[in-house]
């Protein structure tokens, strides 16, 4: 019964996450929007798990674990970039340009 609305909310949150990635220039904020997208997907899984079985929740478990790992490494990368370029603005991180 809650499935339809849950999926709708999940879609909205995902779209908002994508919008954030497209609209912002700060690398950390973009990363946070990626996390937002992941959460939207988690919501989808959980909503479907209610109908289809516990495998959905187990998948959410794994998503969280991977998100944690990814957050750690990603932020380390951002730190390293900051040390060299002294900026987290994506427009300034353009060594590949040209």
């Amino acid at each position: 019964m809650l499935l339809g609305p849950s999926l709708a909310v999940s879609a909205v949150l995902f779209a908002l996450g994508v919008a954030g990635v497209l609209l912002r220039r700060n690398a950390i904020v973009i990363f946070m929007c990626v996390e937002l997208m992941l959460n939207a997907v988690n919501l989808t899984f959980v909503a479907l798990a209610q109908q289809l079985g516990v495998a959905g929740q187990i998948f959410v478990f794994f998503v969280m674990a991977v998100a944690a790992a990814e957050a750690g490494v990603g932020l380390a990368i951002i730190l390293a970039i900051y040390r060299h370029r002294h900026t987290v603005n994506l427009q300034n991180i353009n060594l590949l340009k040209g």
């Binding site: 809650l2 700060n26 946070m32 794994f62 957050a71 730190l79």
Partner: protein, 171 residues
């Protein structure tokens, strides 16, 4: 039933509003905090969807660990203060909104496109009632999904090593 729905929509609305706020704040700290609010609302939704264990995990791991990490890094890089807006110019804005809108439309359409699923409504609730919430999740985790579970641990190890190496001042 009515009550559940009202609570659902309340928390869903909160989640959407806070997500919107997250992506539009100037200060990264503010964005982070709004994201935390979003996570909490999602946790509430999880509870409503018979995923209590996951809800707790969400709060503990996501909101408690990952977002804290984010805030650490933001503070470390001294980006906390609200700076000039880093939203893209009008062209970028237009493109972004357009694409996100299209995606939204497609995803909403996707709800109708689901092929015939073998529905087992309420299976989780029943399992939780029988065994308890945690064993309901834990038993399959250590049973059928043992291998991914173990591999995830190695993944976390790799992530730790990577993070340490990348963040060193001198390699």
């Amino acid at each position: 039933m009515d009550g559940t729905l009202i609570i659902f929509w309340a928390f869903a609305g909160l989640a959407v509003v806070s997500a919107l706020s997250c992506i539009t704040r100037r200060s990264p700290v503010a964005s982070a905090l709004w994201l935390v609010v979003t996570l909490f609302s999602l946790a509430a939704l999880f509870v409503l969807l018979d995923a209590q264990f996951i809800a707790v995990l969400q709060v503990l791991v996501y909101a408690g660990a990952i977002m804290v990490l984010f805030l650490f890094v933001i503070m470390l890089l001294n980006l906390g203060r609200p700076g000039p807006t880093d939203l893209k110019g009008p062209v970028g804005l237009g493109v972004g909104v357009l694409l996100a809108g299209l995606l939204l439309v497609q995803l909403l359409a996707l709800r109708q496109a689901a092929p015939g699923l073998a529905l087992a409504p309420g299976a989780v609730a029943r399992a939780a009632a029988e065994q308890g919430m945690v064993p309901a999740v834990a038993r399959p985790l250590f049973g059928a999904y043992l291998v991914p579970f173990e591999i995830t641990s190695i993944l976390l190890l790799a992530a730790i090593v990577g993070a340490v190496v990348l963040a060193k001042r001198k390699l």
